[in-house]
Symmetry: C2
Subunit: 531 residues, 2 copies
Amino acid sequence: MDSRSGAPTRRQLLSAIAKVGGTAALYQAMTTLGHAAETQFHGPPSLQGARPGASVIVLGAGLAGMLAAFELRKAGYKVTILEFQNRAGGRNWSLRGGDTYTELGGATQKVAFSPGNYLNPGPWRIPHHHRTLLHYCKQFGVALEPFIQFNHSGWVHSSEAFGGKPVRFNAAAADFEGNIAELLAKSVNAKALDDTVTQEDRDKLLEALKGWGMLDNDYKYSASLRASSHRGFERPGGGGVNGAPIPSKDLYSLHDVLDPQVWTSMAFFMGHEMQTTMFQPVGGMDMIGKAFAKQVEGLITYNAKVSKIAQDDKGVAVTWTDTVTGKTADAKADFCVCTIPLGVLGQMDLQVTDEMMAAIKAVPYSGQVKIGLEMKRRFWEEDDFIYGGHSFTDQEIALISYPNNNMFGNGPAVLLGAFAREMGAYRLAGLTPEQRIEAALAQGSVIHPTSYRKEFASGASVAWSRVPWTLGCCARWNEDTRKEHYQTLVGLDRRIVLAGEHASYVGCWMEGALLSSIDAITRLHKRALEA
Amino acid sequence: MDSRSGAPTRRQLLSAIAKVGGTAALYQAMTTLGHAAETQFHGPPSLQGARPGASVIVLGAGLAGMLAAFELRKAGYKVTILEFQNRAGGRNWSLRGGDTYTELGGATQKVAFSPGNYLNPGPWRIPHHHRTLLHYCKQFGVALEPFIQFNHSGWVHSSEAFGGKPVRFNAAAADFEGNIAELLAKSVNAKALDDTVTQEDRDKLLEALKGWGMLDNDYKYSASLRASSHRGFERPGGGGVNGAPIPSKDLYSLHDVLDPQVWTSMAFFMGHEMQTTMFQPVGGMDMIGKAFAKQVEGLITYNAKVSKIAQDDKGVAVTWTDTVTGKTADAKADFCVCTIPLGVLGQMDLQVTDEMMAAIKAVPYSGQVKIGLEMKRRFWEEDDFIYGGHSFTDQEIALISYPNNNMFGNGPAVLLGAFAREMGAYRLAGLTPEQRIEAALAQGSVIHPTSYRKEFASGASVAWSRVPWTLGCCARWNEDTRKEHYQTLVGLDRRIVLAGEHASYVGCWMEGALLSSIDAITRLHKRALEA
């Protein structure tokens, strides 16, 4: 393995293993080399040799559908895509100034953002380990830029701690760690852990707690320059005569830093999907959908509302209506890749097994609400020194997320004024678009009291439970539904296979849609060759 | 304060307070509003009304010197700058392909990096709260991009833990937190803290430890999907039939995660100067020096080696030699701002008080060593899924830092192969440039065993103890020298004032140089008006 001696590199080694033993052997080898655990993606599918004339109809021009079409056409299939909307991308979507959006219930919003600004109602950030998506972004020429997920300067707000006032994440997290370290050091010194931890490890532990938790020589966490070097200063160091820093006078209390808003924020940033480094496309998330669409140009029929999917021994017939002309037609193909969201699919006339129909109907969708607010200036940068990242709150809006593009810019910018889930989303979805903006402004003003309303220019909201073409944001599996329905849902139903984030364990992420699509078409291709 | 009612915004309020009560009142008000503690910068200095014909000579065209020249000229002074090197910027410096650098001892390196690639031997990252620097970057048109400081996927390597093998930061940090949480929960449940923590807070604490530390229902940290959702998976979730994730089979031991490399890495990211969001100039750190130099174009005399600084009641006389022509001259001015690093300054013929001379000689400089390695491809991105950020090691190189520009690019890229301090720096500085590269490759190969040598193209190193024009990297004050010498060092010595990072409490940072400069020229201007 010493490359100086001309021995094979890891890459060459893995490549050789893959050739001899296939993916399973490759995976085994990667694990041994300590490099697995990051992705289930091992390169684009290598589908070849479709039977002459074999055809596939793909339902839905989201990422899963377009990837299926792209790879199946490459394999030799005749491919067509039916798409309900007048654009490709599906939930990969950006709203810009001039766009119009009508939700279920009829409320229509005309977006008034300035040129270059956007809201990504659906996906908005890409983990570095979502290799499938990153692979195709590179292949299809989508430029990416960092999405500043973790910002120590963001605000944390709990209505039940810190007197209801927002506090900086760094101060709250430092005080949480300091208190945890002090309490554990106290336990160690009181010999409470002598039966559990060896003497050697107790010594190491005390050293670690002191260094990690910024404890003093008495293992106390106290107001000091040392604590301030993590939590922030009353006045930080400067230059010249008055350069000396002044430490924080007070620390937050144990009671306050134990508030769930503090440790859920800390745990959030340690979440596998949320860990740095994250990315976003330059110019809006829909740059990805547009790049995919360019690859399957000419294959997509837009404004096509599917009402029936039938199949027999010879093929699949899809009945659809042109929502512009009102004309109805049947589309036929040998096989079908269906990426229609389950809530919509379940209402169609489907020729699938009872088990498949039960699976389709078993999985509810979540109903996140996102609200974009255009502000006249970047007060979070200029006044609060926050560049990207999030502030968290226990109000309905759940968070404020700051734009990661055009930092230090002078013009107006769009921040994410709500990413509501659960009850908060339910409440906000029940409001009119105007009322949602008002709620976002009222709640956001708790975090940014002096600037939020003052700088507000315009807003737009998407309540996913009211999105006509998905009836929800993404599939919400639980342990029971996984056990009872997942394998049925992803299985081939004669000539039909489902794909999308709902047919994956990476739910709500574009990566899940793509990995599902690759798995589905790989099996479909195998089945087609056997047919 | 309700902006709906037309009441003043926070910004308007602060502006009004500043007008009435000056900076101190402004600071007081900012503290009350909860927004201080981020910077000592409150806008550029407002110097006006220099006496007609008054002149200042600035020694050194680093950031401190150029800022002094820029602001003093604006105030009406006749300003000249003497600079030892043939370029401006000082330690704000980037090495690029074609550059030649000769260190003390005579070793010369010709940098062979590909076009567009660079090493920043000095400053390389900008904290979001370094407002002075950010202010002037914006004013002078320096484009910034995120510097990915915190990367959960970086490697942590200790020769004394984990069998000497590098481990991912996320796994080590998650297991550290999990173990800490489990031990503290055990102490709480064993009633070891009943005298210290109230019953209500004990309940909150157990909930917090479970949620933050990923404990199970028995308050144990164990191999599980739950633990893997922070530390990483044996196989993460995917799509379709084999989509189910497989959790890590093993966790790191308490003994291993208590290794100082783990918790010092964790604490590092919580350090005030190191917290996200950080920035770097697009195109190399010297874009800042170049932008400053453009503002003081025509004021700088290059290749000017100062040997003597004299002063009397009427003015300052600086004796200098042109290092190209060998010609010696005297430059005279009413006042002098001297930014020459202390180790160099202490060897000159200086007409200052004994106390000032003692202060100048009291402060040693650190001797960091940086090594840039150009690699033929971005294997850390392609193979290890690391985009920016650092890997840490207890070897001499201390870390590997991955480039934050041109991510996903195909061409060669320069990573920072060493940022050595203390003994490691001492050792590396003693080697020839060729030996340093070999050491960096040998030590870096421990982190990236299969690619490091294989992909290596060329390297360059800067050992700051051998940099002829600074004789060190930056000033190393301690508590005693601060007490004895700091106020003398920053004080006006009749007509001479010192400025630079060494005259600040933000040592080793560009921000310290700028804040020091602003403070120095503000006092100098006051003195000049009194004269």
